[in-house]
């Protein structure tokens, strides 16, 4: 089972990396999100007990793969099970972050930016019902509900 999970995840990693690079060039929203990271910023996503990782550098002309042991931000899944569920769109990124399924080394605000970019990617590659399930519940009228409370 582990071998199948690992194989599947390695394919998803390649797909994720390629799609993110492409989106950075073609999708304005993705570019806007990632442009909040400084040029030269390096982030990596890895999985414990699997030897799987991707490291990406944000440059002036796009994203590129990089080999380094010292990224500015490292997102490390604690096991292959969580990583697979996350990349396959079964559990949302924020649940993985909040549920301590990952370790984050680096500034948390940078991690939030990368998470946002992954959400954007999932929004495009997954069918709408799946993507909707992954994004955080957006309640219709939070601000109006605030006004309602004001009046009691």
């Amino acid at each position: 089972m582990y071998a199948i999970k690992r194989k599947l995840l390695s394919v998803l990693f390649v797909f994720f990396e390629t799609s993110l690079k492409l989106l950075y060039k073609r999708d304005k929203t993705t570019k806007d999100i990632l442009s909040r990271l400084p040029d030269g910023f390096v982030f990596s996503i890895s999985v414990d007990f699997s030897n799987l990782s991707i490291t990406i550098q944000k440059g002036e002309n796009g994203l590129r793969r990089l080999r380094t042991d010292h990224p500015d931000l490292s997102i490390n899944f604690k096991n292959i099970h969580w990583a697979l569920l996350c990349f396959a769109g079964v559990i949302p990124q924020h649940t993985a972050f909040a549920g301590k399924m990952v370790r984050i080394k680096g500034n948390i605000d940078s991690a939030l930016i990368v998470t946002e970019a992954i959400y954007r990617l999932q929004e495009i590659i997954f069918p709408p019902p799946v993507a909707r399930k992954l994004t955080r519940k957006s309640y219709k009228k939070p601000i109006e509900s605030m006004e309602q409370i004001k009046g009691w």
């Binding site: 490292s74 924020h94 649940t95 972050f97 909040a98 549920g99 301590k100 399924m101 990952v102 370790r103 984050i104 080394k105 680096g106 500034n107 948390i108 605000d109 991690a111 939030l112 998470t115 994004t135 955080r136 519940k137 957006s138 309640y139 219709k140 009228k141 939070p142 601000i143 509900s145 605030m146 409370i149 004001k150 009691w152």
Partner: protein, 388 residues
């Protein structure tokens, strides 16, 4: 549901518990220790109480470092760590409020691992796993910092707060002695207890809340509600109950974390230099209002935790509304009684700060634990409500 819950802290609580300091130092095999505190604590005579406790065991405090600044800047932490390294102690006894305890948590990791740039180890679950022993003795009844695996330091160069979250930051021992909070100024009692109230509520509605943290957060809320008014009037026992409630809320939020109320409080606090607990007090109601629908089930739960409330009819949204109404009235009464400012404008806010606060709040790590996604519109609405 998946969750992790971790609480390795030994809690010693009650009248005279400070006298257990020597035996705890012995239990931790600490041959040499330093007391880390701030000048206000020394001036208030609280270190003397620790000295008395050690005196009875024939021990003395080898070194007192009282240079911890409010919401300790990184430079201050590096300096303290260097001094601790020089004297080669193996335990820190931290006596103080949230800033002192947060500083001690980080310094005991930095000193043990000779870290000279703490910003390089910021993050979640990534700190080195060895540290000096740490005994935390809180002197305010609100932060719960003695129970948590998180701490915040001020990056003075970038005027921003850096967060650290790791189980290694949870102290070995927390000593909750009522003698240390008896003489607290009323304003500090009120603001720190409101901070603890926010910890309890946010832990309860967090997306990472779990049955264990829920039980703790509901209990903490109940204790704060019951004791805060009397604590403001100077009741010593009520103040001690708040100290315990803050500790319980601390254990809850160390595991379930806090959400968008703290995101806005961190942002406004660092830009306008508002004390953390007072910043939190401004955003409780706005933060709950915007999450009313999303968190109605958990807010309805909390209605039942309020002492003396027996109105449980209606659906979750009705109960959540009722809870918010009671919170609004409770906070108003407490702020009036303690002379706490009620609006962000009282801290020098004007429209020029609006965008900066929103930008910072959206980048804050706590936002990930809220029930709704924190958008610029929602953050803006929260700021506007905090101006009333």
């Amino acid at each position: 549901m998946y969750y992790e819950f971790y609480n390795p802290l030994k809690i010693i609580s009650g009248k005279g518990s400070l006298y257990n300091l020597p035996v705890e130092l012995k239990r931790l095999n600490s041959s040499s220790f330093v007391v880390l505190t701030d000048k206000g604590i020394v001036k208030a005579g609280l270190i003397k109480k620790a000295e008395n406790a050690l005196d009875e065991a024939g021990m003395r405090i080898p070194l007192i470092i009282d240079d911890v600044e409010v919401e300790a800047p990184l430079g201050c932490l590096v300096d303290i760590s260097r001094r601790i390294l020089e004297i080669r102690c193996d335990c820190i006894v931290a006596i103080g409020g949230g800033s002192v305890l947060d500083a001690a948590k980080l310094v005991c990791v930095m000193a043990k691992n000779n870290i000279v740039d703490p910003s390089q180890i910021a993050g979640v679950d990534t700190l080195p796993k060895e540290r000096l022993n740490l005994i935390a003795i809180p002197t305010t009844c609100g932060t719960g910092a003695e129970a948590t695996g998180v701490c915040v330091a001020m990056d003075e160069k970038n005027n921003t707060k850096i967060a650290f979250a790791d189980d290694v930051l949870i102290p070995d021992v927390a000593i909750l002695d009522p003698a240390l909070v008896e003489a607290l100024p009323v304003r500090l009692v009120a603001s720190s207890a409101i901070d603890a109230l926010a910890h309890a509520i946010e832990a309860h509605i967090s997306i990472q809340s779990n049955p264990l943290s829920d039980a703790l957060s509901a209990k903490a809320l109940s204790m704060i509600w019951k004791n805060l008014p009397e604590a403001i009037n100077g009741d010593k026992n009520a103040r001690f109950c708040l100290l315990e409630a803050a500790n319980i809320a601390g254990v809850a939020f160390s595991n379930a974390m806090v959400g968008i109320i703290h995101s806005l409080a961190h942002a406004a606090g660092s830009i306008l230099h508002i004390p953390h607990s007072e910043a939190v007090s401004l955003f409780i109601l706005p933060g709950l209002s915007v999450q009313l629908e999303a968190a109605s089930d958990k807010l309805a739960d909390l209605l039942e935790a309020i002492p003396g409330i027996h109105e449980y009819s209606g659906d979750n949204l009705t109960k959540a509304n009722r809870f918010l109404y009671l919170i609004e009235r409770f906070l108003e009464d407490i702020k009036c009684a303690a002379g706490l400012p009620k609006s962000l404008t009282d801290y020098g806010y004007n429209d020029a700060y609006y965008d900066a606060i929103i930008t910072k709040a959206l980048q804050d790590g706590s936002s990930i634990f809220g029930r709704i996604k924190l958008t610029p519109e929602i953050a803006g609405a929260m700021i506007k409500q905090s101006l009333r």
